[in-house]
Symmetry: C2
Subunit: 255 residues, 2 copies
């Protein structure tokens, strides 16, 4: 049996420590190839590059592992990897490890998860990993074995079709992590404020700041798991239809 | 009773013909304010601007209607409109009218829909409108009355909490449009190919091209409605949890 082909992507860029940890996690599980953005792409959501061309360059970054940087977004990296670099579907796509949380509503802003979702759209089993630590010098050592275990489960047992996994890892030592939990996305949101400043020419400009607020008391959510020392695993879908709302509209609205 | 406050946003930029049509559609339904990107943002997905500041400028574009351009993404426009321009939640957020389809899987790449989703996250009833015609000289005349009717229904009857609406309009004369249908998102995808070219210095670059393929034979989908001359209305949610997959993982996986 041939070894699985594993595509590694991220959104913090090919030089981020998080992707190095992810390469370490999967390097013994199959034939690994890295295609990642040439610069940080945090907060890019599911952006794709339509109106300008992309560039790809081969790098020597991770020993013998073929590694490419791409001028596009995380989703672009997956598209161009499949079409122009691999010329076939990989058996697994892993994205990350993101520097910072992609739990609950953060998923919709996440370049890390958009890369995994793009792979899932192509029918590739896919998972995004995030560590709850934004710092560039974060300690990814616990993440490496956790990501490896989860990838082994995906390879051995699969995930349901038309889904992908959103894995968030608490910022704890491996010995302090209590386990892994399959969760639903918590009902949480950002409460934003823009900080207003003036440039030297008297014009205003605005910096996005905000605090994350969890409105969900459920113990089956990703926020609960992470707050209680567990790795959260949320299965994610890309059918965004609010099926419960179909009858509401059909019954009340005049169409 | 005070008039509803209506926020108009888009992703094609404040000067696009589509937003002018949308202003026309809602101008008699309440107090209207426009906050839109200062340049086209197609394919931006749910991108937000984190690592640089935003600028906003007031323009005179739509008569007496207060109009601002913002240097950010569609989602940024909604955030900054609520926090810095309106200082309160609007009663309705309308996004578009997009030049081109946002039906089925296109929603995940859509800046138009990300603006509507950002509003929905803030608890604002929200809807994105798209016309199935990419050209800048598209005829939006049918869209104006359709968008107006739908906004009147939203104001009068509401939409379920934690949902927003994705409305796509076929590129037909108003007399040719058969009606409106509440639909689910079709199972469809893009089959991409990158066209490879060489720059004058012998380096390759790649243009994204592709064709849209509908794999869904259902007659309850947005693709079916649009192909058969109906306006499609898909209720959309931002809980991305694949609830059906929770038990699959809990039963089969070793956690």
């Amino acid at each position: 049996m041939s070894k699985p082909l594993i595509l590694v992507v991220n959104d913090d860029g090919v030089t981020a420590p998080g992707i190095k940890a992810l390469v370490e996690a999967v390097k013994d599980l199959g034939d690994v190839i890295v295609v990642a953005p040439d610069s940080p792409q945090s907060g890019m959501g599911h952006a794709i590059t339509i109106n300008k061309p992309l560039r790809i360059d081969k790098l020597k970054l991770f020993g013998e592992i073929p590694t490419y940087q791409c001028s596009g977004t995380p989703a672009d990296c997956v598209k161009i990897a499949v079409d122009k670099i691999l010329h076939r579907k990989p058996d697994l796509c892993v994205s990350g490890i993101n520097h910072g949380s992609n739990s609950s509503i953060n998923i919709i802003y996440s370049g890390t998860m958009s890369a995994a979702m793009e792979a899932a759209l192509e029918g590739i089993p896919a998972v995004g990993f995030s560590l709850l630590n934004y710092r560039m010098d974060a300690d990814f050592s616990a993440c490496i074995s956790i990501a490896k275990q989860i990838c082994q489960e995906i390879i051995a047992k699969g995930i349901p079709t038309s889904t992908l996994l959103n894995v968030n890892i608490p910022d704890l030592k491996e010995s302090e992590i209590k386990g892994k939990k399959v969760c639903r996305q918590a009902v949480a949101k950002w409460e934003e404020e823009y900080m207003e400043r003036q440039d030297p020419f008297g014009r205003n400009y605005y910096w996005l700041t905000g605090k994350f607020v969890n409105h969900d008391q459920g113990e089956d959510t990703d926020e609960w798991a992470l707050a209680n020392g567990y790795v959260s695993i949320v299965p994610v879908q890309f059918d965004l239809t609010a099926h419960f709302a179909l009858s509401y509209l059909n019954e009340r609205w005049t169409l």
